[in-house]
Symmetry: C2
């Protein structure tokens, strides 16, 4: 099968063997997959990952092992999306429902498990979620990043009067802004690309360039900028007892000024993957305009080009279609 | 009156005028006052404060202005402790009960308001709390730091099965450890002074030197060490989705490694002043052994010596008695 592989020398389009599902896993034929900013970071050396890239996909279950005979539980032939963290199932974290923080976990396309930029992938059956018929492939492929945006609402109590600021107009920034808007927040977004800010505005979300922003006492700042430079903007933007949610995964350090953090009792929260079920509900209700986020769709044979396109500043979501 | 004044050249024992209470304020005759580590930091230049030092006290109300005639509300002659932040009363934060975060606030002995290391001080009447008869002066003077320790329980849900680590065996570290113990946490303390760790152990709290600690998956770490070096210990100690509470006020910066913070969804919370009423309740119930925390008591005429003593590594609470 065709796969986009991250090797010592960089990314390569390769012909590799179709994987075999292990015990409790399914073999999934990928229909559509997305390139995430984290994939670009991985290619630069983040996390030291080697293997097939990609962790955003929608696909069809070809085979489960062992086969689930029980009526209604058999996923074969069904359209699915999949949670990317696979826990050991044995440790305290797994037993308390926190598989995605299992220290022994593998992660699709990120850690010790081949990813979704390939014709086939394997995942544990328990990681799979049926895609409702109302959600087409081009929307379903956004389930994973939309779930990551929803994690904000899992981690903190968003109130209808929460004054929120989203920093960053990348894909995750736009999805986070949309989630905060749906949940009723009083919202402003900061961006650096006219075309992306235009999408935010088309959704009714005020968006301005970073340089025009004057701190205005926000309860919540979501940093989805992927850049440590935003940290200072965030700290200036927050009112006392405010919360900064860090959404970006990148290799780097932040320098915190301790005194204002303590004196203003600021909370800084790291935030990663989120819940799939509510993400699929939002998509089924057509509450998230994923279509505007798609910059281009490439066939599998052009995955290297797709990856290069994703690295361009103006690009939003780049998809790879394995059906074409 | 005698006062310990922080001036351009350092701290000086001075004769200064007795202050006049402003509208809505009380004149308080200080009975006993404490030296806090923050006072030592102020003397080193933290916050750029100039004026009379001190923010931990118990005293007697001499005068209120205008006099509160209404029976039962008149505090004159009563023994009180006082919250140290004085808000403007007008801004959104003040109107939502967060006077202590008012951007225009004055703070007793810390910001634009003379402090408690003096024979008399003034504070708004609304800042004062009656001291129950069961709480003697030597306990009451700990109300402010004990309230600061209780702020941890205001900021997060402490459960009886919370696995907590307290870093630092200074006064605030000991009080924080005691509060977490009372609230039922599964607790370990890290210290650097044999005598202080002995106090923790006498309370039934396991305490070991920093160097002996092996990370053991804590839900909560309270950093009361006053040192940025503890940050790394804290990050290693936390389990995924754990919380680090920063209790120390000092001038300095922390360098955060972004990837583990985000991947492990760690929360970092700045924490400052806390609620006085529950602190007084704990003291009235004799649940906090403040007596063991007192290293020495000096008369007002020896405040400079008291301050120097407080700066010594082995010292715990140094008090100044204005009645002697």
């Amino acid at each position: 099968m065709l796969a986009l592989v991250l090797e010592e020398g960089g990314i390569r389009l390769r012909q590799v063997d179709i994987p075999q599902p292990a015990l409790g896993e399914a073999l999934v034929k990928v229909r559509l997959a997305g390139v995430c900013r984290t994939d670009l970071e991985l290619a630069k050396g983040y996390m030291g990952y080697r293997g097939i890239l990609g962790h955003e996909f929608v696909g069809e279950v070809m085979e489960d092992y062992p086969s689930q005979r029980k009526e209604g539980q058999n996923l074969v032939g069904k359209r699915v999306v999949g949670e990317i963290n696979c826990g050991c199932g044995q440790c305290e974290l797994c037993r308390s429902g926190k598989q995605r923080h299992c220290p022994l976990r593998t992660v699709l396309g990120l850690k010790d498990r081949n990813g979704a930029l390939a014709e086939y992938l394997t995942l544990p059956l328990e990681n799979l979620h049926l895609v409702p018929d109302l959600v087409d492939d081009r929307a379903a492929v956004f389930t994973e990043p939309l779930a990551a945006a929803l994690e904000i609402a899992v981690q903190m109590h968003l109130r209808p009067d929460t004054r929120a600021l989203v920093i960053g107009d990348g894909k995750l920034g736009l999805l986070a802004a949309r989630v905060l808007q749906i949940l009723g927040c009083d919202l402003l977004a900061l961006g650096s690309h006219q075309s992306k800010m235009a999408i935010l505005r088309s959704w009714g979300i005020p968006a301005i360039p970073y340089r025009e922003y004057q701190p205005d006492a926000r309860d919540l700042v979501v940093d989805a900028s992927g850049s440590p430079a935003s940290f200072e903007i965030a700290m200036a933007a927050l009112k006392p007892q405010g919360t900064l949610i860090l959404k970006s995964t990148y290799q780097g350090t932040l320098t915190l000024d301790v005194a204002p953090l303590v004196i203003n009792e600021i909370t800084v929260v790291g935030s990663r993957c989120g819940p799939f079920a509510p993400a699929l509900r939002l998509l089924a209700q057509n509450l998230v305009d994923t279509e505007s986020l798609i910059s281009a769709v490439y066939p599998a044979s052009e995955m290297e080009t797709a990856f290069a396109h994703a690295a361009q500043g103006e690009a939003l979501k780049i998809l790879v279609n394995f059906e074409s």
